[in-house]
């Protein structure tokens, strides 16, 4: 951490002629009103993306963004301004704009800095440099040729390889100073298969806070390709999905998007404080079947949703949200924690320096239970088995949520039979986990491609769960 801080100072502040004393000057300006706290967030982000289609690597880009975001807080009120220019005059100008939220009152200041420490969950490396440009191109070409060789019905292969190197430095009016260096890479494969005039797609991918070598290790790159092709071919056979309420078995891993939508968003501290979430004020109540424990865990090594520190400088944590079916806690940033008279949980996140932080999820998953997944499937007479999903969405006030299956099958007499087309599943957040009747022993986390959107801000997240049986979810197909 200390190294990250030194490196961040050298990379972001020093070239602009800024140092810790200038930050104190900035806080004197920022707090020269009735503002009771504030923070200054510097960010430098380098991002690249390479893409292949029609068998050639035709597109690539390299992007740099940098800037500083400044926030002044007065009780529940936030003033915010930002600048792409990291120089003292722009910094002080933004401080004046942000402090306009509070008026009059005594001036405050920061007297000294104390370094906050966080976790060490990923290397402070620049993933963009972990393999050569030639190797990036080669990787994509090899995967493309593998996809086409796998089956002649594959007509189009689209691959993308993206990486980012993000450096943040955050200082707050309590005198805390913290930094983080965050690598993030992602490989995504999408194929289109054609048979007898019918076109279907399949996709897969993975990534994490690692270097690009990750995709060459453990056969990962090729496994995404096989998975995408398998899914496209499977979809060529799929029949219409059923419509109506039925017993549903959800596979392990990415289907954990259920938790993200059904309970996750509703447990974010800004919503719960304001009373706009269906879960507001329900700590201690039963919101899930016995045996269900759901956590939000920012401390998993190398995971896409993990953070050494959040974007307010708070160390990430393992936060128990639901324990044995009982609602235990919410996810908080500094502001929601203060207003809720509790402690921040390391969930203060923001898309960039140009956005205000808010309580956000990291890696959200359900702990494993005792049932063998096969036993769970066999327990269902007639139902719907969904093993892969696209995205989801929730109305946190009514609690209604959806998530859309991209790979699913019918269950008939305890056996998985025909593949069915994608369909949206809809349920009620506070209710759905009370309908979970069996929990698998096969907890799996997703492969690392998830992005969560809230109020226009996107952040990388993870999800996971074991195989689950849910007694009665509405499946939105078209077949009667």
């Amino acid at each position: 951490m200390e190294n990250s801080l030194e490196l961040a100072q050298e990379t972001i502040l020093t070239p602009s002629g800024l140092d810790e004393n200038h930050l104190m000057d900035a806080f004197s300006v920022l707090l020269d009103s009735a503002a009771d706290s504030g923070d200054i967030y510097f960010q430098l982000r380098k991002h690249e993306a390479w893409s292949l289609e029609d068998g050639i690597v035709k597109d690539a880009s390299h992007n740099i963004s940098q800037g500083v975001g400044i926030r002044a807080i007065k009780v529940e009120k936030s003033g915010f301004a930002y600048s792409d220019e990291i120089v003292l005059p722009a910094l002080l100008e933004s401080c004046k704009a942000a402090r306009a939220i509070a008026r009059g009152g005594q001036g405050g200041s920061v007297q000294s800095w104390k370094l906050s420490t966080g976790n060490q969950l990923y290397p402070a490396q620049n993933p963009l440099d972990t393999i050569s440009e030639e190797d990036k191109v080669d990787l994509l070409r090899q995967l493309d040729s593998q996809a086409r060789k796998q089956d002649s019905r594959v007509k189009q292969v689209m691959l993308s390889l993206a990486g980012s190197h993000e450096m943040i430095l955050v200082a707050n009016s309590d005198g805390q100073l913290a930094a983080d260096i965050r690598p993030l890479v992602r490989l995504y494969v999408s194929v289109i298969a054609e048979h007898k005039g019918r076109l279907e797609q399949g996709s897969a991918g993975g990534g994490g806070r690692v270097g690009y070598d990750f995709f060459n290790e453990e056969d990962r790159g090729p496994s995404y390709v096989r998975e995408a092709v398998r899914m496209a071919l499977l979809n060529l056979e799929a029949v219409d999905a059923p419509a109506g309420t039925m017993n549903v078995v959800l596979g392990p891993g990415w289907p954990g998007v259920l938790l993200h939508e059904a309970v996750g968003h509703g447990l974010e501290g800004d919503f719960t404080y304001k009373g706009t979430s269906v879960f507001s004020g329900r700590i201690g109540e039963r919101v899930a079947s016995k045996g269900i424990t759901v956590v939000d865990d920012g401390t998993l090594e190398n995971r896409r949703g993990s953070l050494n520190i959040d974007d307010e400088g708070t160390a990430s944590q393992y936060n128990v949200l639901i324990e044995d079916g009982i609602l235990k806690g919410f996810m908080q940033d500094r502001l929601s924690a203060k207003l809720s008279k509790t402690a921040p949980t390391g969930n203060g996140r923001r898309e960039s320096f140009a956005h205000l932080p808010m309580p956000r999820m990291t890696n959200t998953y359900m702990l494993a239970g005792e049932h063998d997944p096969q036993e769970i499937l066999e327990s269902v007479d007639t139902g719907f088995y969904a093993v892969n999903f696209g995205g989801g969405q929730v109305d946190i006030t009514s609690g209604k949520f959806v998530f859309s299956a991209s790979e699913a099958y019918l269950i008939e007499k305890g056996k998985v039979t025909r593949p069915v087309k994608g369909a949206t599943l809809i349920g009620d957040g506070p209710d759905v986990l009370t309908k979970v009747s069996m929990i698998g022993n096969d907890l799996k986390l997703d492969d690392g491609v998830g992005t969560c959107g809230k109020e226009g801000q996107s952040v990388p997240v993870g999800v996971g769960q074991p195989t689950l049986r849910v007694d009665g979810l509405t499946v939105g197909g078209t077949a009667s």
Binding site: H62, E76, G244, A354, Q393, T397, S398, T474, T478
Partner: protein, 445 residues
Amino acid sequence: MEGQSLSRQDDGLEQLVQFCLDEAKRQGATSAEASIDIEQGLSVTARLGDVETLEKHNGRRLGITIYVDHRKGASSTTDFELVSVRDAVTAACNIAKFTEQDECSGLADPDKMATEVMDLGLDCPWPLTPDEAVEIAIECENSARAYEAISNSEGASVNSGRDTHIYGNSHGFIGSYAATRHSLSCAVIAEQDGAMQRDYWYTTSRDPKRLQSATEVGDRAAQRTIRRLGARKIATQTTPVIFEAGMARSLLAHFVSAVSGGALYRKASFLLDHLNKKVFSELVTLTEDPHAKGGLASSVFDMEGVATRARTLVEDGVLQGYILGSYSARKLGMQTTGNAGGIHNLTLHPGEQTLDELMSGMQRGLLVTELIGHGVNGVTGDYSRGAVGYWIENGEIQFPVEEITVAGNLKDIFQKIIAIGSDTDARSSIITPSLLIDEMTVAGN
């Protein structure tokens, strides 16, 4: 073409674009294009009668794309120092050493460049102080909270922004324009028997004078929220469905994706090879009007400098053209339609009936007022989304509905449009009234 300029903007930024193009040439690019986007704005949110957030926006970005013998490289930066801009050009040139030759890549053809300057009435700044913005937001939220059934609020927001766009390429084209966009929105919560419902309303325009009033927005938000109280599921069935104008827009957005060049040349569209075929019911005519005064998607030239022009995209249900930029056009052996960056004010010609008349014409069925989730497959057209709305019997609203899905296939849904409303919603690049679909599958109990 040499030296042509469609300037409405500050020369300093045009000079920076020119610097990029010159620098690209110096570093060996065969051709190049560069753009600058500057975003300035103010947004405030008021909640429970007091200001909650006050944000000043001030962002910028410079992007450059270079081609070396049909090899492409791109980069962007937010740092406008000349040395950093030069580095960005170098980064783009470096990338082009590794990307592969693609005969279709390159600038749009020089004869397609826009040559005319038109004032489209896009730049209408709102001289709004933060205090005034807060007052408007509070007034808006207050009028919503004045309804007794409103128990809580997510707040009301006022946004006012001005974006400046400068684009130039090595054909000698350089053009720029500024466009403002203002909006006012409000979201409130009502509670009944321990169950909460939330809904919202918003108004948006290039011109602040054309916004709905604060009280109107607050009233609509409250009324829309209150009428959702007591929502319940309905039985699984097939039934006629009305998509309220704001939701009908999303159906047309799926159509736009399906006839866009990127999806077509990748064979990732459920409307492949449908040119001159009937893709909608004969009631549907869609026109594109890029030069509409004050339009939210109006523009004289597209993201490649290509002149935009008005056209009919769908006439009496028959597809008349695709939505193409120069790359996808070349891939398809066609000509660009001036749609690099998207569609410009796509308008579905309205019918004669109000929403109430559509309901009474339907007699029995579902009115959809909100959709959630992403259950749309652009390759097959399979459609399945979560929905909120109202159950209609005898042509009138009976009760609110939630926790259901509406499903079908878009190809089919488009053909089954049997009535078009007169209640046009113009708050987007896609402008449409409400639509009545003859039959869809609803999943519920």
